[in-house]
Each structure stands twice: as C-alpha cells, then as structure tokens.
Amino acid sequence: MIIFQNVTKIYKMDDHETVAVEDINLHIHQKEFVSMVGKSGAGKSTLIKLLTGEEKPTKGKVSFGSYNVNKLKPNELPFLRRKMGVIFQDFRLLPNKNAYENVAFALEVAGRTQQEIMEFVPQALEMVGLKDKMRNFPRELSGGEKQRVAIARAMINHPDVIIADEPTGNLDPVNTWEILKLLLKINELGTTVILTTHNKDIVNSINKRVISVEDGRVIRDEEEGKYILV
C-alpha cells in the first residue's frame, strides 16, 4: 500500500546540505503495524514527511495507494491527507478549540454534515476515554489526554493509515502504554499503523515489524523484530 522507491532526501540550506535519508526502499502492506526506530536525527521524521507530502524527495518515488505522493499539487494534497491520520510528539491541537471542536474540525474540512459530526465525535472521544472532557481546551488537558484527542482526530475520517511520529516522546510510562494500547486497538480494527519511536521497551514488547534506521539508511527490517542498539 505504501511504497518508497530509491528515495533520497537532501535538505539544502544556504551554505550546506544535509542528506537526511538515502536510497530508501520500503514496502508497507495494508493492516500492518510497523515500528520505525533509530536515534534522534536518523531520518525517521523525514520519512514520515515524505509520506504526508510535507516534503518532496530529492530523488525517487513515494506512493500511497493510487497516489503518487511526490507528484501531487498543493490543491490535491488535502485529499491524500484525509486518507491519513497523523499524530505528533507535540500533539498539534488547535489551541483555540476544545477537545470536541478539535476532533470535529477534521470532519468539517472533509465536508461532513453537522449531524454526522454530532454523532461521530462523541463516539471517537469515548473510544479514547475522554467523553467527559469534551469541552476542555488543550491547555486544560494533560499530555496523555492531549495525545488521546489527537488520536481521536486522526481516526475520525476512517483513514487507511495512522502515522504516529514519536507520539509518546513527551509522555510518562503509564500514558505511553495507554497510547500504545490505543494504537494496537486501531490496528486490530483494520487500520495500518506506522509508529516512529526510540522507546526500546514498547518496541520489544509488541512483536511487530521493526524497521531500524541509521544515518538515513534502513539497516534492519524484520517481522516481529526487536530494537537492537548499535
């Protein structure tokens, strides 16, 4: 479903260049749960951004389903993004909207009706265990709660894939496990999940595919893999 073909990304700055990822070949199938691990600066976020179309590859091709991601024009990107749910370390909720409105926003941009919104949003918030904090603004929620709102928002459009870039990076162990359990549950219900992390414990405990990235290259790719430190 997701294919990286000979993908290289070089960030060009005024005085120098950074090779973030180099000659990446990956194939991620439907309903897979993939962990992407590696040190900070290895190139994990760059791979994610290439998939969401935030960055364009310097070389190679990224495709998602029938979309050729690096060929999409800015006005075509929104349609790709409605098929993806994205989750970040820093949550990226809209600060002026409460939990309900943040989740509803993803439905609004997709042009769903008010009735659908009133029906689906409470369901999604209930699934992440936040039904009673619907009216809270992000500043009135803990880190774990914010991330659960972000997960509800990511799922609400029934995306083909959930992309989580270090979703537990700012969370304590208890919340980390809560988030991980949610992601596993989403995956069980049939959605592909791509998770980047450098948390060894969670990767080693779930027995799913692990892709290890180092210095912009894939150095290991194993079904039921482990996080092996080099």
Partner: protein, 302 residues
C-alpha cells in the same frame, strides 16, 4: 459545498472577532484610505461642477449699433444659430436691456434720475452667445468679424474673456490629471498596508494553518475565512468612510456656496449617493479580499 461555505463564513467571523485588535487596526486603515479616496473624488467632482458652472457663465456678447434695424439683428441671430459650435443665442432688445438695467438699479436714485433726464434709451441691443465647448469661442468670435456683420455691430465682448477662458482650461486639466494620479497612488499605498496587516494576522496563526493542512483542509477552507475577514474589513471601513464623507459634504457645502453661489454641493452629493457608496464598498471590499488572497498563498504550499 454549502456546508463548507457556511463553515468558512463562520470561521471568518470568529477569526475577525478573535483578532479584535488587528481587525480594528485594519478597519482603521481601510477607513482612512477610503476617506482620502472619497474626499478626493468629492473634491474632483466639486471642482468639475464649479468649472462647468463658470464655463456656463462665459459667453460672447455682440452689441449692435443703436440705429441697427431689428430684422437685420434677428438675421444675425439666425445665422449664428445655424453654426454647429453654437449652443444658444439670446436676443436682448434695447427695451429689454433698459428694463433689466432699471431693475438692477432700482434702488439707486441718481441712476433713475439720470435716465429720466435723458429721456431716450441709451442702451444697445445685443446677442448673447454660448458655445458648446470652450475652444469654440475663438471660431465664433472670428465668424462675427465678417464685414456684413461689422456694418451693424458695435463691439464684441469676447476679448475681455480670453484670459479667463485660458486659465479655466488649465485649471480643469490640472485638477483632472493630478486627481487621477493621486487616486492611483493612494490605492497602491492602501493595498500595501492592508496586505501587510493581513499577513501579520496570518503569520501569528501559521502553526494553526500547518495543522489545518495536515488534517486535510483544502486551500479554500484555509483561505476562505481570511477572505471573509477581508470582506468584513472592507464593508465596515467603507460604510464608516461613507458616513464621514457624507457629514463632510453636508457641513462643507454652505462654505462652497459662499464661493460659488449657484452650486449646491449637498444636493449634488445626494443625487450621486448610491453610486458613491457603492464605489466605496466595492473598492474597500476588493482591497480586503485581494490582499487576503495573496497573503495566505505562501502557507498553502505544504
């Protein structure tokens, strides 16, 4: 589509309200620009009315010799009326001239006594000619120089007006050119200022814009609310400006009347009110919408 449109409008209004300070500042700028713009247009049209009014008062008078027979004089009138340059020719007989003169000096004892004393009508009959265009007076004056006319005419009063006509021509074209230039200049400055203000508003929201893009908001969904805000800026600014300009015309028209008694600025303004307000609104809203449209562009690429 309709739900999206109503959401875009809703978010535009919410954003307008939330950016209270910036909204106020932008409206103030739109308002100032439009007042300047409106004032200039008012000045320009007023100058034009005054000029037309003065132009209307310019004419050529031909005074006949006192012994000239009336049918010859009417013949001259007819031949003048047949000229394409001539707008109107009015014949003022000796009796009529005397009557007008009496009327004008009825409070003046010495004048009426003098008229009683001489007992004959000392005034000449005349033709009062108005041309269609300022430039036609020269041609008409030339026409009157013909020998057949010279036999019965005494003098042509055109020469005394030549200076006035020339000056008038110059003032008119200066006002028109200068006004146009100033309007273009003000519009440019206005567009720049509003563009910058809206860009500032968008800059302070740039994180939100990138989140919106990531959850799949279309360009229209992101740009729309800012354009709605631009419309609101333009609407409020132009309505305020229309009110101020209206008050300005209302209070200044008595002073204009002192200088040019025949011009009623207020009445003229009222008869053009709709067009003027429409122009202000279109200009203000257009300015707001175009500025917003361009300002958001940069944030739609990711």
């Amino acid at each position: 589509m309709l739900t999206t449109l109503s959401r875009v409008i809703k978010y535009g209004l919410v954003g307008f309200w939330r950016n209270g300070w910036l909204s106020t500042a932008t409206i103030a700028i739109v308002f100032l620009v439009l007042v300047g713009f409106g004032g200039l247009i008012m000045f320009n049209s007023l100058a034009n009315i005054v000029l037309t009014d003065i132009q209307d008062k310019i004419d050529i008078s031909v005074y006949f010799k006192t012994e000239a027979p009336e049918d010859r004089m009417l013949e001259v009138q007819r031949s003048l009326e047949s000229l394409p340059e001539v707008k109107s020719v009015e014949y003022i007989s000796r009796d009529k001239a005397l009557e007008t003169f009496r009327e004008q000096h009825k409070d003046d004892e010495t004048v009426s006594q003098a008229l009683e004393a001489i007992d004959v009508n000392p005034l000449a009959a005349s033709l009062n000619i108005k041309a269609r265009e300022l430039k036609d007076y020269e041609a008409i004056a030339g026409y009157l120089e013909k020998d057949t006319f010279r036999e019965i005419t005494d003098k042509v009063s055109y020469t005394q007006n030549v200076g006035v006509i020339d000056r008038l021509k110059k003032i008119k074209s200066t006002v028109e050119q200068g006004g146009l230039l100033l309007i273009v200049f003000i519009s440019l400055i206005a567009a720049l200022i509003i563009f910058n203000t809206i860009r500032l508003a968008i800059y302070s929201n740039r994180e939100e814009l990138s989140v919106m893009r990531l959850v799949g908001a279309s360009n229209f969904f992101i740009r729309g609310p800012y354009m709605v805000q631009g419309v609101v800026y333009g609407l409020i600014g132009s309505i305020m400006s229309a009110v101020v300009v209206t008050l300005g015309v209302l209070y200044s028209s008595p002073y204009v009347k002192i200088f040019v008694p025949d011009v009623n600025g207020w009445a003229y303004y009222l008869s053009n009110l709709f067009g003027f307000v429409a122009m202000q609104v279109i200009f203000g809203v257009g300015l707001g919408v175009v500025s917003s449209y361009i300002a958001v562009r940069k944030y739609l690429r990711i």
